[in-house]
Amino acid sequence: MSVTVEHLTKRFAGGSHPAAEDVSFHAPAGAVTALLGPSGSGKTTVLRAIAGLEEADAGRVRIGGEDCTRVPPQRREVGFVFQGYALFEHLTVRGNVGFGLRVRGVARKERDARVDELLELVQLQGYGERYPSQLSGGQRQRVAFARALATRPRVLLLDEPFAALDTRVRVELRAWLRELHERTHVTTLLVTHDQEEALELSQQVVVMHEGRVRQVGTPLDVYDRPATPFVASFIGNANVLRGRVEGGRAALGGLSLEAPGGAPDGARVHAFVRPHEVRIARAVEEPAGVHAVIAALTRVGDLVKLSLQLASRDTLMVHMAHTELEALGLSQGERVSVGIRNARLFVEEHAG
């Protein structure tokens, strides 16, 4: 079932700015929507408001079209996976997964069957009689998923579900969650500060910053066409170059790019350039181009990270495949010619 948040505002006592301010978005049914933002951006507050764990100061929450702003969490029929699992330590895995069913008065036999079904879904068959403390972090997280899904919730809410796990388990569980979603198709909202997680798992991304929604779009949208400088700098790595518009083109540290539409001459602009959108060639082959010096060169697996020093003293980070660099035959200290394949330019606000 879809989730719609309308003009949600929540202010905590003592907070300088609202935790969430005029937040609106629509999470379509059956899809994964990621709420992405740095810590303190209000994404968890929004998720908790959808679950009914936080009462909004203003605005509405609709689940499947039904206004449930004033409905207590017990009757919202949502599943919530907490950061750090929040499993009931005194209950076995079976007891944890069956908790919601027990609350609903489901008969023992039926409950056991449903719990078995879920343990299979989360690949924990045979772990039913264990206690949470006897499980690994990844297993505990899967129990939390099973517990949330047992009552067939209308919506699954995930609060930084993988934050407490180490990288390898996190990547594994991400693949597992994709698969899980393909099998259940339950509408899912995923709160995360990890852009990779958001871009990989979701069909829609809501980027939040300082309590406000900055952009809503597909993962490709927010990556390729960031709506604001914040989104451009937060999602993916980006070089920031500053300059001015001159004769319809933006001059940025020796580089020239097409100016954003409607920007007058003299307007200050800054450009966000992804490290893999920089093209380099040997300087001797393009004597007329913009030149730079390779100041540093780090190899990370099959990826090479270059740090280029432009004549304007700007630094440009460049990522390229190791094989590509080998083909060019470049090493540290050499002069290269630089070209920008793609960049996103913003006219700076005059206020600043």
Binding site: L53, P73, A86, A148
Partner: protein
Amino acid sequence: MQAALRSVPLVRRGGVLPGYGLALGFTVLYLGLLVLLPLGALVLKASTLSWEGFVAAVTGPRALAAYRLSFGASLVGAVVNAVFGPVVAWVLARYDFPGKAVLDALVDLPFALPTSVAGIALTAVYSQNGWLGQHLTKWGIQVAFAPAGVAMALTFVGLPFVVRSVQPVLEDLDPRLEEAAAVLGAGRLRTVAWVVLPALFPALLTGFALSFARALGEYGSVVFISGNMPLRTEIVPLLIVTRLEQYDYAGATAIGVVMLGASFMLLLAINALQAWALRGRKR
């Protein structure tokens, strides 16, 4: 040089702080001197009685009545504390209100107050012309100089044990557990019964055991409010003192040995129950 270096083990077994042998040896010696030696002397003194003499000393009607009152009233006190102590702990752990620090300190008063003072105060309030007792008397309820008064005094001395056992556990209890229960559909009562209480249970048992044990040994507060009538309101510690005053040292220690054995068995049983409650949980 290299050989000398190699002879020093780089990794010590049992963690970075050594001294298992030393610490255990000290513990055994300390407990031996402080606890086992006097208790051994107690048993030794009691063994100067013949078996028949011992049985007669510990199963006389006066002794049996005293056991009944001591264990009964201590149990009542510990149960009352186990019910209301968590409520006090809940309020102290969960809410902020003016005067909280005062309330928090009040809980510890039974620890600090000489218990005889508490006994005198309770007697003043509950005796027939005390300002609560005179009203209760009209309803036919007698507290002072009755078993009810003994239970009252023992509840008083045991309260801090339950509160102070439960309070830190409540403070550490992850509020997300309650939220998880709520999202899963559990109302307040069920959340308390199925999530909060089971989490508190081991600590509650500890508090109950401490409160009960403290009540069994309590003397000062009870002697004032009980009236010390043999067969009716005489507790075991008082009976022991009475025997001592009659120079019946062996008889006094015989009753002491019975109390010792019974208390030890009870505490052991409570510990076993606690181990069961903590099954599967990390500690």
